[in-house]
Amino acid sequence: MSSIVSLPDQTTARIPKRNYITNENGIMSWLLTGDHKRIAILYLISITFFFFIGGALAGLIRLELLTPQSDLMAADTYNKVFSMHGIIMIFLFLVPSVPATLGNFLIPIMIGAKDLAFPKINLLSWYLYLAGGALTLWAMISGGVDTGWTFTVPLSTHYLNTNVVTTGLAIFIAGFASIFTGLNFIVTIHRMRAPGMTWFKLPLFVWSNYAASILMVLGTPVLAITLVLVVLERTIGIGVFDPSKGGDPILFQHLFWFYSHPAVYIMILPGMGVISEVISTFSRKRVFGYSAVAFSSVAIAVFGFFVWEHHMFIMGVSNYSTLVFSFLTMLVAVPSAIKIFNWAFTLYKGSITFETPMLYAFGFMGLFTIGGLTGVFLGSSGTDIHLTETYFIVAHFHFVMVGGMLMAFLAGIHFWWPKMTGRMYPEKISQLAAVVTFIGFNFTFFPQFLLGMLGMPRRYAAYPPEFQVLNVFSTAGATILGVGYLLPMIYLVWSLKYGKIAGANPWQATGLEWQIQSPPLTENFVEIPVVTQEAYDYEWLDRQKEREVTQVG
């Protein structure tokens, strides 16, 4: 198979002496850095840490579900395990995954800026994240929490004696990390674009992160105040959500999902940005329907605010508002379809190669389509009654979050690895990992659709024996999946030392980030670029290369 990789001559190539990694030494230079690239690396390390904790908890879940009885652990332990799994995976892994690592690293470079608008706030965001993470771990170690990731009242406020308050505060703090990231991105994208970098020359990665940032800034505070009210309810009993004092527990659901539905788009949008970049690069073609893809990101962000009640269809909300929210859910599903088809048509008349990021991107397209379409099953209120609170939902959100976003994250990590570290990852084994992940994933989560259809409720430590076979499949798949995730961990670390030297633009991609050295300088650009080319302008790139050749020759 041919490839587009063009590496410098390995015998003479050197990693540039001066870059953001070597610029300063010592642990303090990292811990007190204002450099968006270093903060991105800090974030990358921390979210990976939390991903593996969450993953180990997932392993425990799957092991327990191997048999119908709750034999590996008691029911309340199981409850703590899946609660922590959900909390860690969502708030400490997936929400910051692409934006805080890749977005942090790339957005300033992609728009031709030297840094994010507020470097100190960026660093503060990481510390807040760490504080939130540490508190979460503390809550887990000192007895755990068994609310589920949704903190449902009055269960969480009056009927549990676990660390709800600690966890609530942890998420509150981590939420502000996310707010500050989003705030920083919005200001940067509005105010710091290089001369000539108009909105419609921005890479789609920037568009989608911009859309996600809007959600972070406007959605997260509502979660924050909701958690504050839960904590007050639990500590002093203020009664706002307490039915025995006249409060309305459904109100909690409204407020919680007002954030948590947009949050699912916070989780997917940046991933969609990655896919745009990857598909364009490896088919050497500009993204089909650039503006449609860009606007669909914004449409998802805006409409994402109006559909939250689809998580509450059976909770005794008014039938008429169900009608409205179900309708809006259908509307919000359309922009995703637009994106999928535009990516598919980007391949048309391209010149396609199949490096690892591209494989992950293909995985994304297939799995996200399944996950998204099953979301429509849930959005249609009549079928939601049967499917809600079953493994169908579990399968739905793992397809979009793991099959979608995690795949996109891995695609992005591989794609920009040479830029971040200056070295290539090993291609063959990483392709293997991508395939293993894909297979393991389907094995793990496809059976869960069937389980859900059959009616197996979620959050069950024990289940009727007739569901066992499918659960065994799922657990078996999870083992494969675990291997698929461990592999990149190993070879990426390996490549830090032994990987081939990548050079500035191993993929011959068009983005501004590929026109500077890898790893980049601390100030990114020696001279602020003046942008004249469109995004994904491969002809411009070719001319550029020709010019270099003639100049050197």
Binding site: R191, R193, M197, F306, Y320, F325
Partner: protein
């Protein structure tokens, strides 16, 4: 930056203290009005009047104290976006509460 270029030369607007005094006085008068209005019997209109005055006061503060009147379109849009999302939260939640009493078909 691209937007910056165009309005580079444009001086940062300094609002004169006279306007501040005027606004502050208006705000104080409005406060007196709203307290006064609350002693009148207006039925459901009491809430409307109180909120109307509050909105008016807030608008004054945003426009003048916070300089939005003299700021770029982007800033105006930002304020609008905040208001919009706030209203979305309130109205869409209320849509459930109000229609609950309607019963079913």
């Amino acid at each position: 930056m691209s937007e910056m270029e165009a309005k580079h030369g444009e001086e940062h607007h300094i609002v004169s203290p006279k306007i501040y005094v005027l606004i502050a006085l208006t705000l104080l008068i409005c406060t007196a009005l709203t307290v006064g209005a609350s002693y009148l019997e207006l039925g459901p209109w009491n809430a409307v009047v109180a909120l109307g005055i509050a909105v008016f006061k807030a608008t004054l503060v945003v426009l003048f104290f916070m300089h939005i009147k003299y700021s770029s379109k982007l800033m105006k849009l930002t304020v609008g976006a905040g208001l919009f999302t706030f209203l979305a939260l309130v109205c869409m939640s209320m849509s459930d509460y109000i229609s609950r009493a309607w019963g079913s078909f």
